[in-house]
């Protein structure tokens, strides 16, 4: 990749990998900008409540808005935070940004069953998809209980020194490590990069 033609900027945009410290500084500076210009902090998981509310709302709108609404939907989706709010467009942007980045570098993947998973649980797509679905559901349930996820609590809350966020961060990291070693064992460490 180092002999990609073009100016240095294009070369950087086409690179597969940036130094993680550069990426970290970039995300930190991005937080300054959202605080300063939009009075917002980076976060993603409340958007999943909005999407869930949208799905539910198509079937049964009374559960999402109005006097008979579910109290959580009422708390998360209202006049102050409309259905299609700042963050839901941020999540759409994350998809687009990763798409653009991977197209520029040719780092496109069609991963269905990661190597580590296959080593431990076999090549079945169905099995992997069930685990991914359940994992996603469990994770978001936890995120909404805690009030945020790795971005909203982890990065945005962490940088604000929030008591809630550091509590979340330590709990989720400890449990993630315990769960990963339970799933893959010590031997899994040799198969992560497969």
């Amino acid at each position: 990749m180092s002999d990609t033609p073009g100016n240095p900027v294009m070369r950087a945009l086409r690179a597969k990998r940036w130094n993680p410290y550069v990426v970290g500084v970039g995300i930190g500076v991005l937080s300054w900008i959202t605080f300063l210009t939009m009075d917002k902090a980076l976060g993603t998981s409340s958007s999943m409540v909005h999407v869930a509310g949208l799905v539910e709302g198509v079937v049964n709108a009374d559960k999402v808005v109005g006097p008979g609404a579910n109290s959580y939907f009422a708390k998360e989706i209202n006049d102050k935070t409309p259905m299609f709010d700042w963050q839901i467009f941020l999540v759409l942007g994350v998809f687009l940004g990763a798409f653009i980045s991977s197209r520029l570098s040719g780092d496109r993947v069609r991963e269905c069953v990661p190597g580590l998973w296959e080593w431990r649980f076999g090549p079945s797509k169905a099995k992997r998809y069930v685990a991914a679905f359940v994992g996603g559901a469990v994770m978001l349930f936890g995120a909404r209980m805690a009030g945020g996820c790795t971005s909203g609590h982890g990065i945005s809350g962490g940088l604000q020194l929030a008591v809630s966020s550091w509590t979340f961060f330590m709990a989720m990291f400890a449990s993630g490590v315990a769960a990963a070693f339970t799933l893959f064992g010590f031997g899994g460490r040799r198969h992560v990069r497969v």
Binding site: R17, W18, Y21, V23, G24, V25, L30, W32, L36, L42, S45, M48, V51, A52, V55, E56, A61, V65, M83, W86, Q87, F89, L90, V94, F95, G97, S101, R110, E111, P114, L116, F133, G135, A137, M139, L140, F141, G142, A143, R144, G148, C149, T150, H153, S156, G157, S164, S165, W166, T167, F169, M170, A171, M172, A174, G176, V177, A179, A180, V192
Partner: protein
């Protein structure tokens, strides 16, 4: 119910997201092996990115607060039982899926198929939480609530500086020091793994 934010905020959110997603993809954290590799301690990219982002962000945000460029923080309520139990549940789900919500969406952008299945699961998980929330909101969600009085108001949106009375800059310096130690140890470990690299 299908209300929209102002056009400025929509555009701002979209541009912020594109930059965020671009950075996540270039940082290699839109990949299953990077996320699970962090939990198994074979790849420390996640810690490098998160700690750098936190320290950088903290300096800028607290700096802007001191200078009066921003008027307030955007802290989430300290309800320690919910924060901790939610975090424990979150970690289990994240290890199963191999992505967090933001990196999962970035992985979909990169083309990962199982991340898309995980996204459907996330939406369902959010819906399940909404369904059980009415039975939690008055009891469980309030356990371990930490509050401080700010003027007339009592708030649970508290920082470490608020509850200890120590300057936030002391915490930021401590975080920077911890990050420095962690990065040094990671660097030493990486050199041991691949001598000559």
């Amino acid at each position: 119910m299908f209300g929209f934010d102002s056009p400025t905020m929509i555009l701002g959110g979209l541009v912020t997201g594109i930059v965020f997603g671009f950075l996540l993809q270039k940082g290699q954290v839109a990949k299953y092996r990077t996320i699970v590799g962090q939990f198994l301690f074979t790849d420390h990219t996640v810690l490098k990115i998160m700690l750098t982002a936190i320290v950088t962000g903290a300096v800028g945000v607290y700096g802007m607060l001191e200078l009066g460029l921003i008027q307030h923080l955007l802290v989430k309520p300290a309800q320690l039982a919910a924060n901790a139990v939610g975090g424990l549940i979150f970690g289990v789900g994240m290890a199963m899926l191999g992505y967090c919500p933001g990196t999962g969406v970035a992985a979909m952008g990169e083309g990962s198929r199982h991340a898309a299945v995980g996204f459907a699961g996330m939406v369902v998980g959010a819906g399940i939480f909404a369904a059980v929330y009415p039975s939690l909101e008055k009891g469980f969600m309030k356990i371990g609530e930490v509050t401080v009085a700010v003027g007339e108001q009592v708030t649970s949106k508290v920082t470490l500086a608020d509850i200890t009375g120590i300057s936030p800059w002391a915490y930021i310096a401590l975080l920077a020091a911890i990050a420095g130690v962690v990065f040094t140890l990671i660097g030493r470990w990486e050199r041991q793994q691949s001598p000559g690299a």
